[in-house]
Amino acid sequence: MEVIFILIGCSLLVALLFLGLFFWSVRNGQYDDPHTPAIRILFDNKKSDTENNTTNPPKNTND
């Protein structure tokens, strides 16, 4: 039964990873605007070259 110590440790690590991802997404502004990305994902336009050169990091992540 001692294997539970390891399993619990692993599960906690995984959970902490997700908590960290959640923190990252909130700080990244993904919870600031819950509406526009839902619309934006429907545009099937080609990715333009200019967008790839962006040095100013885009706030939204799904286009």
């Binding site: 908590l19 502004g29 605007d33 509406h35 545009f43 962006t54």
Partner: protein, 815 residues
């Protein structure tokens, strides 16, 4: 796709969807209502941005209402520019604009493809809910001015206001709440998992000491961030309240949180039990969900605007050589010569240098007719110029002008914030807290005879179980749903804490111009010989020359497309107009005015009685008939006033003269009709009502109501376009929805009843829990079931009953 949308033999513009009204411009077989719309289509077509038209039908913005786009020179001024941009380094600039015209999917698509129209733009992204566009661009390739010009040219003119110049960086309080919620949820889930063996009391794991301690210590470690981080707002608020000698709802919550934590730590370290960490983290998790609901606001609406957002950001000034410059108005000094054009606002009190002009003060004073101003007279800030471009010299700075003085009243003083009526939950919490403490102490004393340890156990158990989580959730969940339902029905409230003030109202005060009546709208009908199209053309040509509101209303009404040259135009104040058009003499004016000219003609008088002005027409000395111009009431307003009259004391405050008094005597008692009110008098009148223990709702629309709206218990600003300017207020209502105001008040009262019912429900939970606690049988399992159960059932009960009540009242509950 069918390029020409024809509905009932009218052609609809391919760009903006408006009726083309006969003047159709064609391009590529597509109809446009004006050359502005055609131009936008051309720009988009040339840049392969046609997707704009396939995402939604006729998504464009009509150009008929927006002004000229040749006024952005001030954006080249580095000082103005630096204050507008969010971020800037050597090459990059990022800036965000508020664009009220953003309204559909196509808008987002087009605005995010701006880089195709201007190669200097690197990235543009839209926040639809805030109506905000963030752009980052390269400064050496394009400029702020050309971007704003581009936006204006395709119909998305950003709203650039003076207040924006002084705007603070947006705070991220909402993000913090999400993080706290995340931590609490994470701990809640994991602790539940670790506590699971404890729930199955027969499990063999219980007996194995090492696991017991291991899980317990993990629980403590997980609960510490919840206590210190997630619940910090509650603990701080409770501590602040206690230090001031108050008890708010956060006090019993904090007592519960602290006793849960200390008791659990004690039980775990002493090896007595598994502790209540699952209940603690669950409690905080649910409380934070409630707070998230509570914080919901309408970011695209601004409830705290002052005069700064009403005035334009810049004005055209003249230097010594009569050359025109754009100047941002906060740099406007006394004695500057400025040029104001038709429909522009006067930014500061000025003296007129041109011969004469008309100024429309309706937004400032509520007076519906433009005032004539002669050379040398003062024009007050906030007036809108009607007529040709005019030169004037400023005599005061913007911040010292007549209009801005109102904001010096104490009602606008933030530090003396009007005594907020404490919420229902806050009012009962002192009683509740004292009651719980009394029960806890009594139960503790009773158990003292058995054992000291048992006494402590029971004492803390009572504090734990009585933690008013459900109580704290009922208000945000009920009013949060109510807020959503109100918004779906065109009534936008600032936040949930003001709904109770709406429910408690006893008096309702209306503004007249723009609120009960529509200033720029009238019901015009013609009585007498039918007019030919030619005659209508004559009348319109003459009426168009005049700035008198009746003339303008008639000109709009006759709507003929053949304008003619007007000669010998003469306007007699308060009488009428005489003019020659196409060789025919036209007389337009009052009964006396016309009868003096047509003595031989039998003139019929208007026989019907009612609320309208009469304008007679004579052509070449022949009397033709008369126009009846009635005030255009908003739909359903009479019914609304009737129903309000029986329920509340209703009052009418108008900045206008009392010429229309008779129209309102049917709906208001004589003494409650007040005319010729200045903005300050309106404010004082509300104050007077409040001193007589009335709780006042003020409904108004203009800056002249700003003081009254602020002073009233619940100020409602009325607007026909929700994203346009409204003075500071507690709620914004869509003009077409004003007729449902009585339903809205009913619904707010029902919401308060629902809160009271859910208080009752949560008290039942508390009593059941107290039964367990006092008898010394509160196991962690009972707590872990009872506390989430009560929270969730309160959430479900309040949400469902609010929606049910709204549906029964005929309010829209889904989009």
């Amino acid at each position: 796709m069918n390029s020409e949308v024809v509905t009932a033999n009218s052609v609809v513009c391919y760009h903006c969807g408006n009726d083309c009204n006969g003047e159709v411009v064609h391009l590529h077989d597509k109809p446009f209502c004006c050359s502005g719309c055609k131009m936008v289509f051309q720009i988009l077509d040339d840049n392969e941005l046609n997707t704009y038209y396939s995402l939604e039908d006729q998504p464009g913005i009509s150009f008929k209402t927006s002004g000229s786009a040749s006024k952005f020179d001030y954006l080249n001024d580095p000082q103005v520019r630096d204050r507008l941009v969010d971020f800037k380094n050597d090459t990059f600039v990022s800036v965000s604009f508020y664009i009220p015209n953003i309204h559909c999917t196509s808008c987002i698509w087009l605005l995010e493809n701006l880089f195709k129209l201007d190669s200097g733009i690197i990235k543009s992204s839209v926040n639809f809910l805030k109506r905000e566009l963030s752009i980052s661009y390269e400064e050496d390739k394009t400029s702020l001015r050309s971007i704003v010009k581009l936006l204006a040219s395709i119909g998305y003119e950003p709203e650039l206001r003076l207040e924006k110049l002084d705007a603070q960086a947006p705070s991220h309080t909402n993000r913090k709440l999400w993080l706290k919620l995340g931590v609490a949820g994470f701990a809640f889930g994991n602790i539940m998992l670790f506590s699971f063996p404890e729930y199955l009391s027969g499990s063999s794991l219980n007996t194995q000491g090492s696991f017991y301690l291991f899980f317990g210590i993990l629980n403590i470690i997980l609960a510490i961030p919840v206590l210190l981080y997630s619940s910090s707002d509650y603990l701080k608020s409770a501590w602040a309240a206690v230090r001031q000698g108050n008890i708010n709802l956060d006090v019993p919550i904090s007592i519960g949180i602290l006793s849960l934590f200390t008791r659990s730590v004690y039980e775990i370290t002493a090896g007595i039990g598994a502790g209540y960490m699952d209940s603690l983290t669950g409690l905080v998790f649910f409380l934070l969900i409630g707070r998230l609901v509570q914080q919901k606001t309408y970011e695209r609406l601004s409830f705290d605007r002052d005069y700064k957002s009403y005035l334009p950001i810049s004005v055209t000034s003249l230097d010594e050589n009569d050359e025109e410059h754009s100047k941002s108005i906060d740099q406007l000094k006394e004695g500057t010569r400025i040029v104001i054009r038709n429909n522009e606002l006067v930014p500061a009190d000025s003296v007129l240098l041109s011969e004469h002009t008309f100024v429309d003060y309706s937004f400032i004073t509520g007076e519906s007719e433009p005032v004539e101003v002669q050379e040398g007279e003062t024009v007050y800030a906030g007036g809108k110029l009607v007529g040709a471009a005019t030169e004037m010299r400023t005599v005061k700075e913007v911040s010292n002008s007549y209009l801005t003085k109102l904001w010096n009243d104490s009602a606008f003083d933030e530090s003396s914030e009007k005594l907020t009526v404490s919420s229902l939950a806050d009012r009962i919490s002192p009683h509740f807290t004292l009651g719980v403490l009394a029960i806890a102490i009594n139960a503790g004393i009773l158990w003292w005879t058995v054992s000291t340890e048992m006494a402590l156990t029971v004492f803390t158990a009572v504090l734990i179980i009585a933690c008013p989580c459900a109580l704290a959730l009922s208000t945000p969940f009920t009013l949060g749903s109510a807020l959503n339902i109100f918004a779906r029905n065109g009534f936008f409230i600032k936040g949930i804490d003001v709904i109770e003030r709406l429910a408690n109202t006893t008096a309702i005060v209306f503004d007249k111009t723009g609120t009960l009546t529509k200033a720029d709208h009238a019901d015009v009908s013609f009585q007498g010989e039918a007019l030919s199209d030619y005659e209508r053309g004559l009348i319109q040509s003459v009426c168009k020359q005049s700035v008198h509101p009746l003339s303008r209303k008639i000109a709009d009404h006759v709507n003929s497309s053949s304008p003619r040259k007007v000669e010998n135009y003469e306007e007699k104040v308060n009488k009428g107009i005489s003019a020659t058009v196409d060789g025919k003499q036209l007389l337009i004016g009052s009964t006396d005015f016309i009868s003096a000219y047509c003595e031989n003609e039998p003139m019929q008088r208007s026989t019907s009685k009612g609320d309208f002005s009469v304008v007679h027409i004579a052509i070449d000395g022949h009397w033709k008939g008369w126009f009846e111009v009635a005030n255009h009431y908003r739909t359903g307003i009479k019914k609304l006033l009737d129903s309000f009259r029986n329920r509340f004391s209703t009052f009418l405050l108008s900045g206008d003269n009392d010429a229309q008094k008779n129209q309102f005597t049917d709906y208001f008692n004589e003494p409650s009709l007040r005319f010729n009110q200045t903005p300050q008098q309106k404010l004082n009148f509300i104050k007077e009502l409040q001193e007589n223990n009335q709780r006042v709702v003020m409904i108004g629309d203009g800056l002249n109501d700003a003081g009254a709206l602020k002073q009233s218990d619940f100020g409602i600003a009325l607007t026909d376009n929700v994203s346009s300017f409204t003075p500071a207020c507690d709620a914004i209502i869509d003009g077409s929805k004003l007729q449902r105001m009585d339903t809205f008040i009913n619904f707010s009262q029902v919401s308060i009843t629902i809160i009271k019912l859910s208080f009752g429900l949560s008290l039942i939970y508390n009593i059941v829990g107290l039964g367990f606690a006092v008898s010394g049988q509160l196991s962690p399992l009972v707590a872990a079931i009872l506390m989430p159960l009560s929270s969730i059932s309160i959430m479900i009960f309040t949400t469902c009953s609010t929606h049910y009540a709204a549906k029964k009242m005929g309010l829209q509950i889904w989009k």
